[in-house]
């Protein structure tokens, strides 16, 4: 290619590129303007329809007036969308007979069927997740099997919403399936399940205790956490053997759960773990004794002030500082320790005590 040929190509390419980009920039601006305009129009329409649809829904929830109900049948898809949002909002606020009427309205308007179809067939995960949430919020009990199926969805958000929906409707028997589907996502699963496990109440506990012995450690971990949340001293017998598990995560979780139950007999059995071979376990045990102000652990905690792991020393010092006068006496005793680290830690926590009292 000669220089001038190359320059002509260069020129042509540049002009072509500039024109294409110019058109694209203009299109972007047009899209922006169009979107803003549509948003304003949609907002106006929504506000107008919301007022009339909401008054009909509220009338039915309050009085059970069938005339109001009939007017909410066969809504256009745009109105159905607005109406669904209204129902979901109302469902959060009502209970008892009004709640059942809200569910009835949800079924009657055909939204429930559509949501079940969406949950089963939609290609888009956010639509499936929304459907699962709505079905749970509206307590559509006949959707139980579809929600259980959704626990196997490839998208975690859909599984989380299905988990919540099942829990919200109180299907205790589905608990093992929930745990299996959520076990790889410990924190988010625990967070989601914390929200409904108490609604399920006592019937959930025996199932959870069984799951504490599950062969998969991640399921065990989740079950131990949830058992701890119940704070039932009767569960200690299941938790204590787990302090000797092969898996450190399980041992730590069991220690934490025993601590959050706070039963003195369970705590007494945990004292020897202040001398455990794993520093994490020693530190966790010390922390739990502090939280529970468990004075029988003071001699063990004093030894922990001389521990080679800094975290153990810190937690032991803090635990002693939480144990009132007995703890203070123990910390003062540690000031005379031959171990420099123990003396430092005792000084630190005594100073803290002094500053806060």
């Amino acid at each position: 290619m000669t220089v001038s040929n190359w320059q002509l190509t260069f020129l042509t390419l540049s002009i072509l590129g500039s024109n294409i980009l110019g058109v694209m920039v203009a299109s972007l601006v047009a899209i922006l303007v169009a979107t803003k305009f549509t948003a304003v129009l949609w907002d106006k329409y929504k506000r107008k329809r919301q007022a009339s649809l909401k008054s009909l829904a509220v009338e039915f929830l309050d009085t059970g007036n069938d005339e109001a109900k009939l007017r909410l049948k066969n809504l256009r898809w745009v109105d159905a969308l607005i109406f669904k949002a209204i129902l979901l909002e109302l469902a959060e606020e009502v209970s008892g007979i009004e709640q059942s009427r809200a569910t009835e309205l949800y079924e009657f308007s055909g939204i429930a069927d559509k949501e079940i179809r969406t949950l089963k067939r939609s290609w888009f995960w956010w639509l499936r997740a929304t459907a699962a949430h709505s079905l749970g919020e509206m307590r559509v009990k006949r959707a139980k099997n579809d929600l259980i199926e959704a626990l196997g969805d490839k998208n975690i958000e859909v599984r989380l919403e299905a988990t919540w929906a099942i829990g919200h409707m109180g299907f205790v028997d589905a608990l093992p399936l929930i745990m299996e589907s959520m076990s790889h996502f410990f924190k988010i699963a625990a967070l989601r399940m914390d929200a409904f496990i108490f609604e399920m109440g006592a019937p959930a506990l025996p199932l959870l205790l069984d799951l504490c012995k599950h062969p998969e450690w991640e399921i065990q971990l989740l079950a131990i956490h949830l058992v701890g949340e119940f704070k039932d001293p009767g569960t200690i017998e299941v938790l204590l053997p787990l302090l000797d598990s092969q898996n450190l995560e399980i041992r730590l979780a069991a220690c934490k759960a025993t601590g959050s139950i706070g039963d003195p007999s369970g705590l007494s059995d945990m004292v020897p773990y202040l001398e455990d071979s794993a520093w994490q376990m020693r530190a966790q045990a010390a922390k739990q004794f502090g939280i529970n102000h468990f004075t029988p652990a003071i001699p063990g905690l004093l030894k922990c002030l001389e521990d080679k792991a800094w975290w153990v020393r810190l937690n032991a010092g803090e635990a002693l500082s939480r144990m009132g006068e007995n703890g203070r006496v123990a910390l003062k005793k540690a000031l005379k320790s031959e171990d420099r680290f123990a003396r430092d830690m005792a000084t630190q926590w005594l100073a803290e005590l002094e500053a806060t009292t």
Binding site: V3, W6, Q7, S14, L21, V29, L191, D194, E229
Partner: protein, 463 residues
């Protein structure tokens, strides 16, 4: 000359093609992220007992103007359990004094556990009013050294490193913790979008109204930040190849950071260097890990409002980039390091590090060629127009992405101003920053290691 022109043209298309590719990926990721947010509200994380506590580290050197409002803003954060550790890095001004006055600190006998080597810590202070605020008063050792001291002192498994002149959104921690809630074992660091605070109305350390500055210079940086954060970092984060988490805001797991010896004190870009080194070490150990980026605006920071300060900042960033890449050179184009070695490192080297040199070389070359009469001026002019269109197009895409997904500039006036800046920044601002970065590249080659002082107005008056 023709071959040089061809090389520049190829480089131009390669770089802009990459930008477009990154943008398209980011678009999909941001939309997906916004959808996820619909299902996970902050209240759930706030209530949960499994939400991990966080230590917030605020290194401060001569920050008497901004430190009190920054700490106040931190006290307003929505998060179940956190501690604030201000590290006074041997300030020569009254940083410690203003803190003592505002938060009533008392000296404690707290033991400072020096696991990472740092300069001497002279005293540990704790607020009498807010027991979760601490001050470490230490001898000057630089930002990295201050952060290491903070890491040593922090008591929680995660720490959040922020700049003293940054303001966090109320829900910043709740949002940034999400990746940890999903996969706590794997995630080692998470970064978020940093936004320009100049022009925003900030009261008592809280952004009350988002706006733009009266001056053009900070507004150009608004567009620039949108481009950098909304396209580049989002996409790299999704490929687990993010090489930088801004020093202004990032949440790290303490253990892996301690495992690699903490922040390096021998670089001016300690934030990037740490992340690159984390990748380096964890990949070498064949560990399964993730370094995330959340496309959520979580932090507001004051940007330079004078050219002189901007020059210093960009110079330092460029040197930091050079140092981070140079120190981890074994990863470069090394398939053992996966996407980091084969994609991120070459990209950052060829595009981020060398682009100012190529850009300015291109301008010079065309100038010389025109002077010598060996090119048609029409060709040069149309190519420059193409380059400007491309710049405008990429900037506009970022502004629109922000408008459609995050929507932090609700006023139409601000949006129009941003669109105008997206056009205007291509005439002068970009060339100037390229020049500052080129100077940074030169200083990196000369092993210049000075930090460069940046004057702050204070966030509550930053316009």
């Amino acid at each position: 000359m023709a071959y040089l022109q061809m090389a520049i043209l190829i480089y131009f298309f390669m770089v802009n093609g990459l930008y477009l590719l990154l943008f398209l990926f980011s678009c999909a990721i941001i939309i997906n992220y916004r959808l996820i947010c619909r299902f996970r509200g902050p209240s759930e994380i706030l209530k949960a007992r499994v939400t991990p506590p966080i230590s917030i580290l605020v290194p401060a050197y001569n920050e008497e103007k901004v430190i009190v409002s920054s700490v106040r803003a931190l006290l307003e954060l929505n998060y179940p359990q956190y501690e604030i550790i201000v590290i006074n890095d041997g300030s020569k001004d009254n940083t410690l004094g203003v803190l003592e006055k505002a938060f009533s600190f008392r000296r404690t006998a707290h033991v400072y556990h020096r696991e990472l080597p740092t300069a001497t810590v002279k005293g540990v202070y704790r607020s009498k009013v807010y027991p979760n605020i601490w001050v470490l008063d230490k001898e000057n050792g630089g930002k990295a050294d201050a952060l290491n001291a903070g890491v040593n002192f922090s008591q929680y498994p995660l720490y959040c490193a922020i700049d003293a002149d940054s303001v966090l959104e109320k829900d910043a921690l709740v949002r940034v913790i999400r990746p940890y809630m999903d996969r706590f074992q794997e995630v080692v660091a998470v970064g978020g979008i940093v936004r320009v605070a100049n022009g925003c109305r900030i009261k008592h350390g809280i952004v009350e109204e988002v706006g733009l500055a009266k001056k053009w210079l900070p507004n150009f940086q608004v567009v620039e930040y949108l481009r950098a954060f909304l396209s580049g970092r989002v996409a790299w984060g999704a490929w687990n190849s993010l090489l930088v988490i801004s020093g202004a805001f990032g949440v790290f797991k303490k253990q892996p950071v301690m495992g690699i010896g903490g922040y390096s004190t021998k670089t001016v870009g300690e934030d990037m260097e740490l992340v690159v080194r984390l990748h380096h070490r964890l990949r070498r150990q064949k560990r399964s890990y993730r370094i995330h980026f959340i496309p959520d605006p979580v932090c507001w920071t004051e940007v330079p409002h004078k050219w002189r300060m901007l020059a210093r900042q960009r110079n330092r960033w460029q040197r930091g980039l050079g140092q981070a890449l140079y120190r981890n050179i074994p990863m470069f184009a090394n398939p053992k390091y996966g996407s980091i070695g084969m994609l991120a490192m070459p990209y950052f080297f060829l595009v981020e590090l060398l682009s100012p040199a190529v850009e300015l070389f291109g301008y010079t070359l065309f100038g010389v060629a025109l002077y010598l009469g060996v090119v048609y001026w029409e060709a040069v002019a149309t190519f420059l127009i193409l380059a400007v269109w491309m710049g405008i197009f990429l900037s506009l895409l970022s502004v629109l992405l922000e408008e459609f997904t995050l929507h932090r500039y609700p006023r139409v006036r601000n949006l129009l101003k941003l669109l105008f800046c997206a056009v205007l920044e291509n005439f002068g601002y970009r060339q100037m920053t390229a020049f500052f970065r080129l100077k940074g590249l030169y200083d990196f080659a000369r092993r210049e290691n000075a930090w460069g002082f940046i004057e702050r107005k204070g966030l509550e008056v930053a316009h």
